[in-house]
């Protein structure tokens, strides 16, 4: 733990008795928050606790319903829409804040383009972009269109955008949720450097280890209320979790149950190739949880999408209980009992302008059809059940999906996929942006499904998740499955070895 905290450093920005309501529904209750010069301050809380809302209020993107923001000891009304940047306050949004049609450079400089004699200085902007991306260890091409980037790369651009501005205060709302460990390390290095130069950071994350590693102080919110602020050094992960959830947490991962060796093979993937993925073969037994690990961009998502018929397969075959699943037909895959939860909840998972119910039942409308028409009562019942089962917390049941907190969106997405009652469930990044309490719930849920005789494929970049849940782990590298690990072999070092290409073995 770093200890160069500027202890008792001057308070730069603070929130005093902030209340915030949306459409008459209160989400922040008289919250106080102080940010000192040159500190990294973690903001923790369950999904929907109000972290993002507080961050938005303190950066001018939302106006508080009551209470005041104090900058350098003076109460201010922050200008809206990112204009607070002029005051040195920038924010990395939890939702991506990028326009798909622009290039990386264009996005980075949007709203503050460099010009020479009124003409865009594209060369200088490109060079500057390259410089900032390199600082962050990102290899994103500065001329690439945003629409062609992976989520992680978009997040890096988003971070680069904030870092590159001369900021006094940087709010980072779950910047690492979609990043790999290395990318996170690069980011942290940069953050510490800037912190040492006097920049203050607010770091929102559900990753306890990162919070412990990076931050100087922690503030915990629960249900929109301030619970505690204290130096990170005197806390440990467990106590933070306890503060957040308001009770003690039992062990995160449920006990593993291995399926019988003679259990039926339900899914067989036979040398499937697509654009990038080459010759992938594996099989999944009934009641099994198999993990897919690998570096970012190793092709896991692409393989899963190919299995699901969301991408056409160049060659190879997918069978479920001996029946061939046609290529390029997602609906047919569903009918075969396959279910897929995308990692990209914003642009592929949820209809952001629709309410919870429309989203939840979109994929499973058949279940609610009576004599050819949809039965709203049956849908409402499904929603009530799903909100309980997945602990979806919204303060306003009428809110559209795009306005829900990030974690609750993730839960809604999971609920949506589970509504189809698939036998074989592919979950891409199951707990992205999920708080610890709910994480535990989701793990137990997955495990219960497996015990129930369903098969689960977990694609995850979080090593502990893979190790804690799965009885078998396939590792991908450059579009190929380079090894399938079992039992004792499953460990962080071993998986890394395969992922890095230091080791490989024939697919099981």
């Amino acid at each position: 733990m770093e200890s160069e905290t500027v202890d008792g450093g001057a308070v730069v920005l603070s929130a005093r008795r902030i209340c915030k309501s949306f459409n008459g529904v209160q989400v922040l209750f008289s919250v106080n928050f102080d940010l000192r010069a040159g500190e990294i301050h973690a903001l923790m809380g369950e999904n929907g606790a109000g972290k993002s809302t507080l961050v938005k209020v303190m950066s001018g993107f939302e106006q508080p319903s009551s209470g005041e923001i104090v900058l350098d000891g003076k109460p201010v009304k922050l200008p809206a829409n990112g204009d607070a940047e002029a005051l040195g306050i920038v924010i990395i949004h939890q939702e991506f804040n990028l326009a798909e049609h622009l290039t990386v450079t264009e996005s980075l400089f949007l709203g503050r383009e460099m010009t020479r004699f009124g003409v865009l200085d594209r060369k200088r902007m490109r060079a500057e972009t390259r410089r900032v991306l390199d600082l962050l260890g990102s290899h994103v091409d500065e001329n690439a269109l945003i629409s062609t980037l992976s989520i992680a790369d978009k997040q890096m651009v988003e971070i680069a955008k904030a870092i590159s501005r001369d900021a006094r205060v940087v709010f980072m709302d779950e910047p690492t949720a979609v990043l790999s460990r290395e990318e996170t390390n690069f980011l942290f290095r940069q953050v510490r450097k800037l912190r040492d130069q006097g920049t203050s950071f607010v770091f929102v994350s559900h990753k306890l280890d990162e919070v412990m590693e990076l931050t100087d102080r922690v503030t915990v919110l629960r249900d929109g209320q301030w619970v505690k602020t204290s130096p990170t050094a005197i806390l440990d992960g467990e106590s933070i979790a306890q503060l957040m959830v308001g009770r003690e947490l039992s062990s995160l991962y449920p006990a593993k149950t291995e399926p019988d060796v003679d259990e039926e093979v339900v899914l067989r993937v036979n040398s499937v190739s697509t654009g990038y993925v080459k010759d992938a073969s594996f099989e999944v037994r009934k009641g099994e949880i198999i993990g897919f690990s690998g570096m970012i961009g190793s092709g896991r998502t692409e393989l899963m999408e190919a299995i699901m018929g969301l991408r056409s397969r160049a060659s190879g075959e997918v069978t479920v209980r001996g029946e061939v699943v046609p290529s390029g037909d997602a609906h047919a895959a569903n009918l075969h009992g396959l279910g897929y939860m995308t990692k990209d909840r914003k642009s592929k998972g949820l209809l952001l302008n629709s309410g919870m119910m429309a989203n939840l039942t979109l994929q499973s409308l058949d279940q609610h059809t009576r004599l050819g028409y949809l039965d709203p009562k049956s849908e409402a019942a499904a929603l009530a059940k799903a909100t309980r089962r997945f602990d979806i917390r919204v303060r306003d049941g009428n809110v559209v999906a795009g306005r829900m907190s990030g974690g609750n969106q993730q839960k809604l997405l999971l609920a949506k996929v589970m509504e189809t009652e698939p036998d074989i469930i592919i979950i891409d990044e199951p707990t992205r942006g999920i708080d610890v309490g709910t994480k535990q719930q989701i793990y137990h849920f997955i495990s219960a499904l497996a015990r129930d005789g369903r098969s689960i494929i977990v694609v995850s970049s979080e090593m502990p998740e893979i190790i804690g849940l799965c009885t078998r782990v396939a590792v991908m590298r450059e579009g190929r499955i380079v090894g399938v690990l079992e039992g004792e072999e499953i460990s962080e070092q071993e998986i890394m070895r395969y992922a890095a290409g230091l080791k490989r073995k024939a697919a099981a």
């Binding site: 459409n23 592929k348 302008n353 919204v394 719930q441």
Partner: protein, 336 residues
């Protein structure tokens, strides 16, 4: 998690009436305003005959616009509907003139079936060119607009196509001029078509899929929806609605020409948008749409009944009224 129960309960809370309903009600408010204006302009305006006339003749645009609501909700656009009306009507009349079926009742039934079939086929063609050909719907249907209109010109050899048999004509006439329990038949058709459309859009799986596709194609695809099929069917529904409009149009004038239905596509789209459906797709308001169609027709009617406006300025005032009606709507929604 102890907050559970309580969150759940809150979750089920009724959809806030202020938020949702006012937006749906707004077009009707604009309509009410127009009715008041109309009544001030001319005392005849509020008479049953006049209002029934206006409602009756809004039938064509209203029914076409109901179809357009599907296409627009699914994120597409159909510019060909006006010329499709001309095309379907021409073929229908030509068929009736051909006299291949001797019995008039049978002939009429066959002709109507034919019109419906052609309408759906034209709609399907639009849909397939757009989805399979992956061409912007604006261009694809601009192309078919030219094609349908051109074929009509060719069929009519530049003239008009008129229903010849007086027997058929008098038999068919009530389809536009008749009434059921005092309600003009076209109004009955509008109501039935709209009710069915509302049912499909709000109460069936297909309707949900339309909105999902219009709202975000990727999300729809990842939810196992056949996006192209949904879009194509929406175009086919549009074609069907055009055919239904033709079934009312032919008995009214008993004839068509290459100029039939010119600019109806603009009117239909306007009706949809005035009715509260956004052109970007992702939400459809069928009842709003027919309200929009009625508003458009009413504006024209008020112009005609008012006797103090230079007819040169009619277009200008119609334009101004449409803008004002939209401003009224917006301010209503914003106030809520």
């Amino acid at each position: 998690m102890s907050v559970n129960e309580e969150t759940g309960e809150r979750g089920i809370r009724r959809r806030s009436w202020r938020d949702v309903d006012l937006r749906a009600v707004a077009p009707f408010a604009a309509l009410a305003l127009l009715l008041i204006v109309g009544a001030m302009v001319n005392p005849n305006f509020i008479g049953i005959t006049n209002l029934a006339n206006v409602a009756t003749r809004s039938a064509f645009i209203a029914i076409i616009a109901v179809g357009a609501t599907f296409v627009i909700s699914s994120g597409d656009l159909d510019l060909s509907v006006g010329s499709m009306v001309a095309f379907v009507a021409s073929l229908m009349i030509l068929f009736m003139n051909s006299g291949v079926i001797a019995d008039p009742a049978l002939m009429l039934t066959a002709a109507m079936a034919l019109a419906v079939a052609i309408g759906i086929a034209c709609g399907l063609a639009n849909g397939l060119i757009t989805t399979v050909g992956k061409i912007e719907p604006f261009i694809a249907t601009l192309g078919t607009m030219g094609i349908y209109r051109g074929l009509t010109t060719w069929l009519s050899q530049g003239g008009a196509i008129t229903l010849k048999s007086p027997e058929l004509q008098s038999m068919y006439r009530p389809a536009y001029f008749g009434n059921i329990f005092g309600l003009p038949f076209p109004i009955v058709v509008i109501l039935v078509v709209t009710a069915i459309a509302a049912f499909i859009l709000y109460r069936t799986r297909y309707g949900r899929h339309v909105v999902a596709v219009g709202s975000n194609r990727d999300v729809a695809r990842y939810s196992g929806i056949h996006v192209d099929r949904v879009r194509t069917i929406a175009f086919a529904i549009q074609g069907l609605c055009v055919a239904i409009a033709v079934l009312l149009y032919v008995p009214r004038l008993g004839s068509t020409s290459a100029t039939t239905g010119i600019l109806w596509e603009l009117q239909a789209i306007t009706a949809v948008v005035v009715g509260g459906t956004a052109l970007k797709g992702g939400a459809g308001r069928v009842w709003g749409t027919i309200c929009g169609a009625f508003i458009l027709e009413l504006v024209g009617n008020i112009m005609l009944l008012s006797n103090f406006i230079s007819e040169y300025l009619i277009g200008a005032i119609q334009g101004a009224i449409i803008i004002i009606a939209m401003l009224v709507q917006r301010s209503l929604v914003r106030k809520s």
